[in-house]
């Protein structure tokens, strides 16, 4: 067949010239085939049966290891066409393991990093499809965790490479770790990514921000690292990573920017930096607009209302718990307002707690004095308010200077 001849020819050329990009587009399983040589390969292959493929590929490329990979690739294509995802997964796993064996054996195989990237992407996608199939049949879903295991060993092969940088396998690290992150997210087990981030972040040579890493991979990595930090409660680190990702993410990927914002905005609100209306409008995130306004005004009633209204969206994105924490900021802003309004000249910094109770009641929130004392003591302890509570006098005494320090000065 003409298509196959052209395909084999291009593939051998790619191997000889060590053209990674070409190789990766020839081993690609996704729908958008970039290379003209891969057109019609699918139709050519689908007429064969699995057991013929080994013999069929023998001798095509002149390189045993690549022929082995090619055989697995073709088998995978056949299984995908017939929609046998579990089997396709097995072949894809074999493909990537054959590739890994080649990487391990050959010294200067850094040129294969694009191919590694493509095959790991396909592995993850096929694993997900296979898991769905297994779920339908009621079997245990283990393909994705299996894929994670394989990718982890691929990661360590790339990471431990000692070759000089121009042929090093280290350039493939970010690609593989991004695929791993996506699997962990899909498995709802993000904290497994902690070890990944811990090994990649302090990388010296090349460093993480090296301009030779493709910016898309770096942005994705920072996004995942930031999301991980956010779920672990390390908000300053999260803000740093997510801002970097947002800044460097190209304006063309509107959807990706939106995803980054979904995590960045709660973190920023928690640190007291409210998003601009123009930003929220541009990315169509009106839920945050109302919420940010409520926090800023200290409007507890509408805060509760908005949380209730957009509960589904917040819970599905996993940001509900963090947004709940911004209520503390709302309390702080409310207290500030109460204090500013009810300042009396004879007792400038003293405010009876009854005031707060009345204000909250007006907002529709019923709390007894103990609860209010608790909230205030939390605010004082965290540093949002400078002052103290006098239990006997049942009042809050603010410090004379700067009782409500600006939020950007605080360390959260």
């Amino acid at each position: 067949m003409m298509a196959l001849f052209g395909y084999f020819n291009t593939l051998s050329t790619a191997i000889v010239k060590q053209d990674s990009l070409l190789l990766s587009s020839l081993f690609k399983k996704s729908i958008n085939k970039l290379h003209p040589a891969t057109r019609n390969v699918d139709q050519a292959i689908e007429t064969k049966s699995l057991s013929e493929i080994d013999e069929f590929c023998d001798g095509r490329l002149g390189n045993k290891q690549f022929e082995e990979m090619l055989a697995f690739h073709f088998k995978g294509i056949i299984c995908l066409q017939k929609k046998f995802y579990s089997e396709a997964y097995i072949h894809q796993a074999n493909l990537i393991q054959a590739l890994m064996r080649y990487l391990e054996d050959t010294e200067a195989s850094g040129w294969l990093m694009a191919a590694t990237n493509t095959t790991s992407l396909d592995l993850r996608v096929v694993a997900k499809l296979a898991d769905k199939e297994q779920k339908k049949k009621g079997q245990k879903e283990d393909k994705q965790s299996d894929a994670a295991r394989i990718l982890n060993s691929c990661f360590s092969i790339c990471f431990k490479d000692k070759a000089p940088l121009n042929v090093s396998k280290k350039w493939g690290i970010l690609g593989v770790s991004n695929q791993l992150f996506k699997i962990y997210f899909s498995l709802n087990n993000i904290r497994l990514g902690r070890t990944l981030v811990n090994s990649v972040r302090p990388m010296k040579n090349p460093s993480l921000e090296d301009s030779r890493f493709p910016i898309s991979q770096l942005v994705t990595f920072k996004f995942f690292a930031g999301a991980l930090a956010m779920f672990e409660g390390k908000f300053s680190l999260a803000e740093e990573d997510l801002s970097y990702a947002f800044r460097r993410c190209t304006f063309k990927s509107h959807k990706n920017k939106r995803l980054i914002l979904r995590y960045l905005i709660p973190v920023k609100i928690l640190r007291g930096k409210m998003p601009k209306d123009s930003l929220l409008k541009k990315y169509n995130m009106s839920e945050f607009a109302d919420l940010a306004k409520a926090v800023q005004l200290g409007d507890l009633r509408s805060f509760d209302q908005i949380m209730q209204q957009h509960q589904d969206f917040f819970i599905r994105s996993g940001i509900y718990l963090i947004l709940e924490k911004t209520k503390i900021l709302a309390y702080r802003n409310l207290c500030k307002k109460i204090c500013m309004i009810s300042q009396r000249p004879e007792a400038k910094n003293k405010f009876i707690l009854d005031l707060f109770q009345r204000a909250l009641a007006w907002l529709g929130v019923t709390m007894d004095i103990d609860d209010i004392e608790c909230i205030l003591s939390n605010l004082i302890f965290a540093g949002y308010i400078k002052g103290y509570i006098s239990h006997q006098a049942r009042c809050l005494v603010l410090s004379a200077t700067n009782p409500f320090p600006p939020l950007k000065d605080l360390k959260i």
């Binding site: 196959l4 049966s49 001798g59 390189n63 718990l321 609860d371």
Partner: protein, 504 residues
Amino acid sequence: MTQAQAVNPWNQQQYNYGYNQYAYYSNPYYHQNFPSLNGTVTPNPQTQVAPQQTPVQPTTPPANVASTHSVPFQYANTNVAPAYTSVKRTQQSQQKVTTGFTGFQMNQNKKKKIPELVEEPKPNPPADDKNKWPDALKSFVERAFARCKEPAEKQAVEVQLKPLITGAIEHGTLWSHDWASQPLPPLPPKRKQPSFDPNPFQNESKKNARSSRFMEQAHAHQQRSRPPPSTHQPTETYEDRELNWDAYTIKGTSQQLEKQYLRLTEAPEPWTVRPEPVLKKSLEHVLKKWEAQRDYLFVCEQIKSIRQDLTVQRINNEFTVLVYETHGRLTLENDDLGEFNQCQSRLKTLYEDGIRGCIPEFMAYRLLYSIYRDSASDIIDLLKDLTVRKDVKVSDLSNVKKDPAVVHALALRSAINLENYASFFKLYPTTPNKGKFILDKIAPRIRLEALRKISKSYKPSPVPMDWLGVQLGLSGEPCETYVKEHGGVLDAKKMLDTRQSNIT
């Protein structure tokens, strides 16, 4: 042509490939050279050498490859082994065949007789006398393959024959060797493919072996309360890989009420496994013993063996739920949270299958347990289960949300998230069911935080102990000792002197 546009695998647009190859190579990341940011294409010294890889063929169509690289068998001018080639080929030849390419040396590869392959430019040497085989050899090979019934066997035989024949060719003994008396290569034992999972095609033999083993067991032991399991052979075709597990499920026969728990390493014998009616009686018996003797270790072990018997017999019904719920409550009372986690995760899957049980109670426990483990992802999952997910078949989900246990647990979660110790200790005494045992584990952390905060924010007058006790969820004596233990200083009137206290 910008770099971003050249190849961006995450950009799903079809790249319009007018195939500008220079643009293709301009991305410095993918360039094999040491990446230069100006993106020029400079030759890599390594491609010219290319020594360390396996011998790579030149880029011209591989027409001059040596015979060792070509397909295993030169069936040129022979009709050897029609038994297996023709069976496959008839299927293939029904597919559409493209025409053209008659100019290539397609006659070289007659082995497969695939119409489409015939047009391929196979890397074969031109036809000459070398490829003719003696008739004795042809019949030898025919006999060797005639014994094979499966493709895997044929492959293995081929692997053995190939060195034999090529060796004979190289040594020039092809025609002189006596092929008629050459012993046939032995058939391989049924082997697994060297990949992750066994080849689906070969699973059948293993399953047949297993089912026959079960049949033997069933026959060997006469005391049987049920008819033997059906001899249903699991049919596994390429298209339909549904397995019928019923043929392999054990049906127990034991009548024991008490049974020691032993970890299973293989399928158990039916006479050691208790059927469901016996298990029900066993559970009653065990619970009576618990009431009488309060020996948790014994009871836990007994219930684990009941659970094991239920699992091997694949009984998943309301009784199973009852067993797990009972065990769950017992573990909570006895401070065995590891075992509790096992119970509650199993219960979660059982509830999701639609089986009824005390869903709100255990939903509340699950939430409290996730709070105890401080795992935000579990909490989010649970919130998702309660509010967002529509695919899960949990019965009466809307009633679950309104159940007081769940409402209480949600309020607690909210209080803890906002670090509101006052609400926490207010909700603590009113915890329904056995949730208090989990809260007992969370409370110390919150209590210490509360003491710390109060100590820092309440000045100048001392804090009365009884009020403090309410805040900390302690009262009277225990409160004093607790405060003193953690560095609190009490003044003459037994009030907390916050100025001098240093809570650690």
